[in-house]
């Protein structure tokens, strides 16, 4: 399992894709972070905050908005990373190597999942430096920051699991990318139907929002964990079914 995860992780860096994504994301996040910090220290904003007794703190204002934005950017980028996970192996006929090796389907799927999650951890690590840099000028709420990171990890886990499953359905990475992209957007947009409680519950983003506020709600965590387990199991079944 870890052998597969390690290869997956390494192979990302063999192509320029991973470097490009890391670079682009760092620029985007750096820029948005700078804008947010600039907004926060503007005199009029500061004055408003000082007058409002229930004003949001530094962490909520900056980390909250930044992570909200990051989640959307990641949602746009993840399909490009998940698309090749299984479809490319199928296309290059390397899937036979994994299946004929003494490893179970579960290890193959988990290995792929963990490999990509490993890459996302690097992204998050680089990201974490930005809010942490605020420590130079003020206090940050580590509880809220932690909750936000937990939320982001779960969010990415859910995106990756779904992307992995869609990638296991096809032999064409592009098809996988577009389908994944569509499903992500749909899951995001489902939450826009404000009045329908079921759709609200199913929505991808709502569960993330409360974690951003620092609320660690078991419902939200269970939602993401169930989501991840569901799509990983579906991927395992999908690969098993291929032999039949």
């Amino acid at each position: 399992m870890f052998t597969i995860a390690k290869r997956e992780f390494k192979s990302l860096f063999l192509s320029p894709l991973a470097w490009a994504i890391l670079g682009v994301m760092q620029i985007i996040f750096g820029w948005s972070f700078a804008i947010l910090v600039y907004l926060f220290i503007r005199p009029d904003v500061q004055a408003n905050l000082a007058n409002d007794p229930s004003a949001p703190g530094l962490t909520s204002m900056i980390v909250g908005s930044l992570f909200d934005w990051i989640a959307i950017v990641l949602l746009l980028i993840t399909p490009f990373l998940t698309m090749r996970l299984i479809s490319e192996e199928r296309r290059n006929k390397t899937l036979a190597l994994l299946i004929s090796a003494p490893v179970s389907m579960t290890s193959i799927v988990l290995g792929k999942f963990l490999g990509l999650m490993g890459f996302f951890m690097i992204v998050l690590l680089m990201l974490a430096l930005m809010p942490l840099s605020l420590m130079f000028g003020g206090d940050i709420d580590f509880g809220q920051l932690g909750a936000a990171f937990l939320g982001l990890i779960l969010w990415l886990g859910a995106l990756t699991a779904l992307g992995l499953y869609i990638s296991s359905l096809t032999a064409y990475p592009t098809v996988a990318a577009i389908t994944t992209f569509g499903v992500f957007l749909l899951l995001w947009m489902v939450g826009w139907a404000q009045d329908v409680a079921v759709l609200q519950y199913l929505s991808f983003t709502d569960h993330y929002q409360s974690l951003l506020k620092g609320l660690i709600n078991s419902t939200d965590i269970v939602y993401y964990l169930l989501f991840i387990v569901l799509f990983l199991s579906l991927s395992i079944y999908r690969l098993d079914a291929e032999r039949l």
Binding site: T3, I4, R7, S11, L14, S15, N92, K93, T94, L95, A96, L97, L98, I99, S100, A101, P102, V103, S104, R243, L244
Partner: protein, 308 residues
């Protein structure tokens, strides 16, 4: 050669919808055997191999590898196998050495022995000159060798090679055959091919499959005896009546090829060649050719696969 059975296949069938790609095949493979798996395109060779390696589930039937049932203990059974599919499963963006390390780890070669295993496979497959190069940049022949290296890296007791010499040049083919023959000393090998001389060159057992059914299982020696199929070819400048030839002791049938050439079929253990020659000289038939006819493997193959 010990008689330990490494692969046993019982009543194996595989259907794609109504189409029976493989129908009710049974065979055993013992240690040290190099089995040539012959058949025309689409006969079910690859399907059978995929089922043995667990990449395809059989519709019915039982497969056990190294004493483990493939369904009940898939991981243990697969650990005894090395498999080179029709298209070598290579990651084109990896370096040869790195790829082989990955394969070794994938097959649970102990961490400390990975380096030895990789070095040995590189040595055996003659990859020394390319081990630091990207697989995607290698020629087809070298890629094929990397594929074979991948199949033998964990010293499996059985190596399964699906058409390993397709698309190679004659020199590479010869090298790869040499390699396969070497493998047969330590491992059992199943080799699928539709190139007949290849079987003659490397295998000690032959199976012919056609339309999903096994139509011949024999040793290569057995096949050679089949090839001596009791025919003589005789050339006479002044041939007599066919009836006269038929009366010679041992002759069972005479077939006219053209004016001067005849095929003579004779019964087992009673070769009339000597008598034919004596008679021909005595009667002044103008004997200029008398050769035992040998059916080639090709003919046997064609006979077997088309008579159905």
């Amino acid at each position: 050669m010990s008689s330990e059975t490494l692969i046993s296949v019982k009543n194996l069938s595989r259907y794609y919808g109504d189409f029976g790609a493989v129908q009710n095949i049974s065979f055993d493979i013992k240690r040290g055997e190099i089995l040539g798996f012959l058949g025309p395109n689409g006969a079910g060779k690859s399907t059978t191999m995929q089922m043995i390696t667990g990449t395809l589930a059989p519709t019915t039937g039982q497969i056990s590898v190294g004493g483990y049932d493939l369904l009940d203990h898939p991981l243990k059974a697969k650990a005894a196998l090395g498999y080179l599919p029709e298209q070598p499963p290579l990651y084109r963006d990896m370096v040869v050495e790195e790829y082989l390390q990955f394969c070794a780890k994938l097959h649970h070669v102990p961490r400390l022995k990975v380096k030895d295993a990789v070095d040995r496979a590189i040595e055996q497959c003659g990859l020394n000159t390319v081990n630091k190069r990207l697989i995607g940049n290698l020629s087809k022949g070298y890629q094929q060798r990397v594929g074979i290296a991948q199949a033998i890296i964990h010293t499996p007791s059985i190596v399964i090679l699906d058409e390993p010499t397709v698309g190679l040049d004659p020199i590479q083919i010869r090298e790869i055959r040499e390699l396969i023959r070497g493998l047969g000393e330590e491992h059992s090998v199943i080799l699928s091919t539709h190139i007949l001389p290849e079987v003659q060159a490397v295998c000690n057992n032959v199976q012919i499959i056609n339309n999903g059914e096994l139509i011949l299982t024999d040793t290569i020696d057995g096949l050679f005896t089949q090839m001596q199929n009791n025919h003589l070819k005789i050339g006479l400048r002044r041939p007599p009546e066919i009836e006269i030839l038929k009366q010679i002791e041992g002759v069972e049938g005479v077939e006219l090829k053209d004016e001067n050439n005849f095929y003579i079929q004779y019964s087992n253990d009673n070769n009339p060649a000597e008598r034919l020659a004596e008679k021909a000289v005595a009667a002044n038939w103008g004997l200029y050719e008398l050769t035992p006819e040998q059916r080639s493997l090709e003919q046997i193959f064609v006979d077997l696969t088309t008579e159905l």
